[in-house]
């Protein structure tokens, strides 16, 4: 694959590793080959160079030894460069493969299973962690080579002179000791520094949250001083950190030259005694230095350990339980009848939903009510297959949802959420997002129905305003999510608390529009307000994950437990709605067809 292409050229659309296939052993093997070669050359070099120098000093002519030295020097140059190239390419292909697999795992997963991973964390896993993990094969190959150099150097040193070798061997443990104190010293001061830093950050955050108040009160300068007050302390801690760093580094920097110097002293004495030549001394000094490089192997080992941990983190994404789709389609012109049979949903060992037999007639509007934690959103998620039930089946017009193709399911079931995530692009693109691409006038129409058109018109570029530049409130966001659902409404529309941020007047208008101008179908509406329940054909009252009762709002309103659901759930904010205890007053619009 990669050998067929010159390295310098950019090939942005090649799929090396990007299709998620494992890159195989070849890239790794090349790294191993080159780095072992480079290590062998590095070990041979001092001996040959020393010999060459001796011959040159003695005879002025080294014969074959000079070309050999040149070969070794140039060979190391070449092999090092190749190692660097192959390492880079090996890392690139492995990183791409790991990233693709992790991203695919994430995007095909049951959305609910991604709960433990916040977005920033996923970003880190796919960039940093994947890169760390992708470095593992090359690091493994390099580790082998990195052991060859110091060990080979020690052996070669023993071959040159056994006394110098002994001197180096005794000095090595001291090196490890100094490196360890380094980590111990810096740990505590780094923690203090980070604490002060986060203090500044959290004060800034508070002030950002209160920007409107601060701006209006003209207290910006006071706030600035308050936020930056810990800066002096931070600077002091920073200086302390550098001082510690300098002390530790000073100590460890002394060690390798010291070791080399000791080797030189022993070698020099052996030279004076006639046991060694000048070239031998040169070789001995170099070998001492190479042997001290055993610390490099520790770095690689650390990288490998980190890579393994990173790989585990990317695999958590890769192996998330997938939401698989079937191959069936829905019957033409079905009414959108929804049926739950023996459905159980268990989360963390606790049953959060049980619906033994539940039938929502096609074309009807069903309100799902209950206290928070009663299982309303779980029911909404099961009804349109955002999760699969642990037991039982959910059927739409007689077809189990998990047998449907992705296209069939997602074009016929639309969702509106309490907090929709609208993605990137313009307002129009956000509303148009879905398995079907609605026309611009359909987008406008849906936005009108969702009560979004009026504020979109006020944005700098109307529907073409990029979302990132649109100053939207939570309620406006919610209405765009509604518009998206309306623009893609199929035979089932699930609204999971999708009008909670709207005031009652707007919600009322949205409901009218929903009835008049959005494609007719079955509606499953999770609601907290009695007005919504009242407008529904049927109310599904959930409690502790079980269906407590099914009936009309008017029938259920006589039960104190039912009324209490709205009393606590709405808190104070439902004041314009019915106050608990009042008899519900029927609306004056014509009734919908009852099931």
């Amino acid at each position: 694959m990669w050998t067929s292409r010159p390295w310098g050229r950019q090939t942005p659309r090649t799929r090396e590793g990007a299709d998620g296939s494992a890159p195989g052993r070849a890239p790794e093997a090349l790294v191993l080959l080159c780095s072992v070669g480079a290590a062998a050359v590095a070990v041979a070099q001092p001996l040959v160079l020393g010999r060459t120098l001796d011959l040159l000093l003695r005879d002025g002519d080294a014969g074959r030894w000079l070309p050999l030295s040149a070969g070794l020097l140039l060979g190391e140059l070449l092999l090092d460069s190749l190692t660097s190239l192959f390492t880079g390419r090996c890392n690139a292909v492995w990183t791409a493969s790991i990233r693709s697999r992790a991203l695919r795992g994430l995007l095909r997963a049951v959305p609910d299973s991604a709960r433990p991973h916040p977005p920033g964390d996923v970003g880190t896993r796919l960039t940093l962690n994947a890169a760390d993990a992708g470095g593992a094969p090359a690091a493994r190959a390099a580790l082998g080579a990195s052991l060859i150099t110091p060990l080979g150097a020690l052996v070669a040193l023993a071959f040159v002179d056994v006394w110098v070798a002994a001197c180096v061997l005794t000095g090595l443990p001291a090196l490890a000791l100094v490196l360890r104190t380094f980590a111990r010293d810096t740990g505590a001061s780094v923690a203090a520094y980070q604490r002060t830093q986060s203090l500044i950050a959290s004060r800034l955050l508070e002030a950002l949250d209160g920007a409107a108040t601060i701006g209006a009160a003209g207290t910006g300068d006071r706030e600035r001083a308050r936020i930056l007050a810990p800066l002096a302390e931070l600077a002091a801690q920073g200086r302390h950190m550098w001082a510690l760093h300098g002390r530790a580094l000073g100590r460890s920097n002394v060690l390798v030259p010291l070791l080399t110097l000791a080797a030189t002293a022993v070698g020099g004495l052996r030279l004076a005694a006639g046991h060694l030549s000048v070239g031998d001394l040169l070789a001995a000094c170099r070998y001492a230095q190479l042997a001290a490089g055993i610390g490099g192997a520790a770095t690689l080992l650390g990288a490998l350990v980190r890579a393994r941990e990173a790989r585990r983190r990317t695999q958590e994404l890769e192996w998330m339980p997938p939401l698989k789709y079937g191959s069936r389609r829905l019957p033409q012109d079905g009414p959108g009848e929804l049926e739950l049979r023996g459905v159980r949903v268990v989360r963390d060992g606790r049953q959060v939903l049980r619906a033994d037999h539940l039938r929502v007639p096609g074309g009807s509007t069903v309100a799902v009510v209950g206290r928070s934690g009663a299982g309303k959103s779980v029911l909404a998620a099961v009804a349109g297959r955002l999760i699969d039930p642990d037991e039982g089946h959910v059927l739409l017009d007689g077809v189990p949802l998990d047998r449907l193709t992705r296209e069939a399911l997602r074009t016929e079931v639309a969702y509106a959420f309490e907090r929709p995530v609208l993605g990137e692009g313009t307002i129009a693109e956000a509303v148009a997002t879905g398995s079907r691409q609605p026309a611009p006038e359909q987008v406008r129409h849906a936005a009108l129905a969702a009560g979004a058109d009026s504020f979109v018109q006020r944005l700098p570029h109307g529907y073409d305003t990029p979302l990132a530049e649109a100053p939207l409130s939570g309620g406006e966001h919610q209405r765009l999510g509604l518009a998206r659902a309306f623009a893609h409404a199929g035979r089932l529309l699930v609204m999971d608390d999708a009008t909670s941020s709207l005031d009652t007047a707007t919600e009322h208008e949205v409901n009218l529009a929903l009835r008049r101008s959005v494609r007719r179908g079955t509606r499953l509406v999770v609601a907290h307000r009695p007005s919504v329940a009242d407008r529904a054909d049927l109310v599904l009252w959930l409690e502790a994950g079980e269906v407590r009762a099914v009936g009309t709002h008017r029938e259920l309103w006589h039960r104190a437990g039912y009324r209490a659901v709205f009393g606590t759930d709405t808190g104070g904010t439902g004041a314009e709605d019915v106050t608990p205890g009042d008899e519900p007053v029927r609306r004056h619009e014509p009734e919908e067809v009852r099931p």
């Binding site: 090939t11 799929r15 460069s81 660097s84 950002l208 020099g268 406006e476 998206r484």
Partner: protein, 622 residues
């Protein structure tokens, strides 16, 4: 090595300038020069310490050379050991020298960090003050601390390696010169050749590094966004599209990584040329050097200089300049570079249906001339006076408020109602003077507010927004925020009258610490309301400032604020709050109608809808 690198990748935000780095370099050069010019003392001391470092490098090589020449080879091991002892002293003196270098380094990095933190805080506060989109950017804060640390570390790394290379190289070259000038003739050509090759790769390599960081950042953002939208992607069936986009980004990142690998290869070759070739040149030139009287010890010293001093310095230089340099450039440009224009500005006058709301009585919603000013009851200077105020967020955009006239008499209590997103908050911001109208004028107590300084404005009015501002500090500090010289008795009275006793008691009295995250939204709003209650300003603007209170607490708070001398303008979240007002302004995007509750029930269909749209029969007082 967890989030810092990701932070670096994220550093290239979408709104940032994208170029090959030359733009950033020219943008950053002047502030960088100023920064360094102000620290000449530190730089001089750093140079002195570095000089000591190169002196040390020089002594080590020199000592080794002399020990061989005059000691071991000359049959005088004692003299040899003596020279080695000189080298030993030089090596040991390295530790204090490194300490001195780091002390001076702190004199550069810490001021840099302070400056960057200040700048970043200013920028975030400014951006928030201008009302940037999307609410508080929490990620920006964490990125900010990350970025500042990345800049600090990269800068430190760069200073250390550059300095160390320059002085070590100088020391080693000086050493070679002192051993024999002929050595320089042999060593310098390959050394400078390799360095030149390296310098040539610097710019393309930095550009490649920037591109790689950018693609990484794009991929990270895509992954984070996909995760945030996973439920929506699944529900919309657009997962495969996100997957394809992800695969493209992964392929892009891999291509960039391969390009980088190519440049890394060139860099390694450059390192080899400047590191290995001098050794080879020295070997080849041995007969020539010997002919010029270069001793065996001098040759050994030369090798020591090359292998022990120059090669490691070269190695770190090439690693640091490639990676840290590009990163520093990116991050500094992010923190210091031009500010992306965040908030849409209110622009342009527009012709539209004007609406009227004059004094008491019901505006009809018919066209009314903007110039018409009807007499109003009460004192000459109304507490709030809006004259044909228009505001739109863009030339093409429909106006949010359109030729609105409004007068509020001193001492009056006015409520503003209307569907969400219709411009109620905009109205309070206009009155508060934190937003300038596209057309028309806004007066508070007779003073024009547009363009007035925040300090003057704060004497006229208090704005309490929906998101109550509470900061880490004592309860007393928080309450006295708008009137720092308030007396203890007044504080206690405010606590009592707004029903804050329980909360203040729980926090440990007025001197007790407030930790904003531990307060409920309602408690935060109560604190903000008490603060407004204590303010000396005659006009209170409440923008849904009671939305998290239960109805009873809300009523109590509003009663207290109404009883306070001065004018009250309330954007009502609930109608129960509006009904308490003297007059109500109904905004519906096309018309503005103003009147008492009863009047509005008669003439505003929207108001009827708002009060009892789903109740049968005639709407009634709630």
């Amino acid at each position: 090595m967890t989030s810092a690198g990701y932070g670096a990748a994220r550093a290239l935000d979408a709104d940032g300038p994208r170029d090959d780095g030359t733009g950033a370099l020219s943008r950053l050069a002047p502030p960088a020069r100023r920064f360094l010019a102000r620290r000449k003392g530190v730089l001089a001391r750093l140079a002195l310490w570095s000089l000591a470092e190169s002196g040390q490098a020089f002594l080590v090589g020199y000592g080794v050379a002399r020990s061989v020449d005059e000691g071991f080879l000359a049959g005088d091991p004692r003299r040899g050991l003596l020279w080695l002892a000189v080298a030993l002293v030089a090596v040991l003196s390295g530790a204090p020298v490194v300490r001195g270098v780091f002390a001076q380094l702190a004199g550069l990095t810490e001021p840099l960090r302070d400056g960057l933190v200040r700048r970043a805080v200013d920028r975030s506060l400014d951006r928030a003050a201008r009302g940037g989109p999307g609410g508080t950017d929490r990620a920006a804060v964490s990125r900010l601390t990350n970025q500042v640390e990345i800049a600090r570390d990269s800068f430190a790394g760069l200073v250390l390696t550059l300095r160390s290379f320059v002085f070590t190289a100088a020391g080693a070259l000086l050493g070679l010169l002192s051993l024999n000038p002929a050595l320089l003739v042999v060593v310098l050509p390959p050394l400078t050749g390799g360095l030149a090759l390296f310098l040539c790769t610097l710019r393309p390599m930095a550009a490649a590094q920037r591109r790689a960081l950018a693609t990484d950042e794009a991929l990270g953002d895509h992954a984070a966004r996909s995760r945030a939208a996973l439920r929506d992607l699944t529900a919309c069936g657009t997962g495969p599209r996100a997957e394809r986009r992800g695969a493209d980004l992964v392929a892009d990142a891999a291509a960039q990584a391969r390009t980088l690998a190519g440049w890394a290869t060139v860099r390694t070759a450059a390192l080899g040329v400047s590191g290995q070739l001098p050794v080879l040149a020295l070997l080849v030139a041995v007969p020539w050097l010997r002919a010029r009287g270069v001793s065996a010890g001098a040759l050994l010293g030369a090798f020591t200089y090359l292998v022990q001093s120059l090669l490691p310095a070269l190695h770190t230089l090439m690693t640091a300049l490639g990676a840290a340099g590009a990163r520093l450039l990116v991050v500094l440009d992010r923190v210091l570079g031009p500010v992306p224009d965040a908030a849409p500005r209110a622009t342009g006058p527009s012709q539209a249906v004007s609406t009227a709301c004059h004094g008491r009585g019901c505006g009809t919603g018919a066209r009314a001339s903007a110039d018409v000013v009807r007499p109003v009851p009460g004192p000459a200077a109304p507490a709030v006076d809006l004259r044909s105020v228009t505001l739109s967020y863009g030339v093409r955009a429909e106006p949010v408020l359109d030729a609105l006239d409004l007068r509020v008499a001193p001492g009056e209590h006015l409520a503003v109602v209307g569907p969400s997103g219709i411009g109620k908050s905009t109205l309070t911001r206009l009155v508060a003077g934190t937003l300038a109208p596209s057309r028309g004028e806004v007066r508070v107590a007779g003073h024009l507010v547009t363009g007035r300084a925040a300090a003057e404005l704060s004497a006229l009015r208090v704005l309490v927004p929906q998101e109550a501002y509470v900061f880490s500090g004592t309860v007393g500090d928080n309450l006295a925020y708008l009137r720092t010289d308030v007396r203890r008795g007044e504080l206690d009275a405010a606590v009592r009258v707004l029903g804050l006793e329980l909360l203040v008691g729980r926090l440990g009295g007025l001197a007790g610490p407030v930790r904003p995250a531990e307060l409920s939204p309602g408690e935060r709003q109560l604190i903000a309301l008490a603060r407004a209650y204590l303010s000396p300003a005659p006009l209170l603007l409440l923008d849904e400032a009671t939305c998290h209170l239960d109805p009873a607490s809300e009523a109590r708070a509003e009663e207290a604020l109404t009883a306070r001398p001065g004018t009250l303008l309330v954007v009502a979240h609930r109608l129960s709050s509006a009904v308490r007002a003297d007059r109500i302004l109904v905004l519906d995007g096309v018309r503005a109608v103003c009147g008492t509750h009863e009047e509005l029930l008669g003439c505003s269909r929207l108001y009827r809808d708002l009060t009892g749209h789903w109740q049968a029969g005639p709407p009634q007082r709630v």
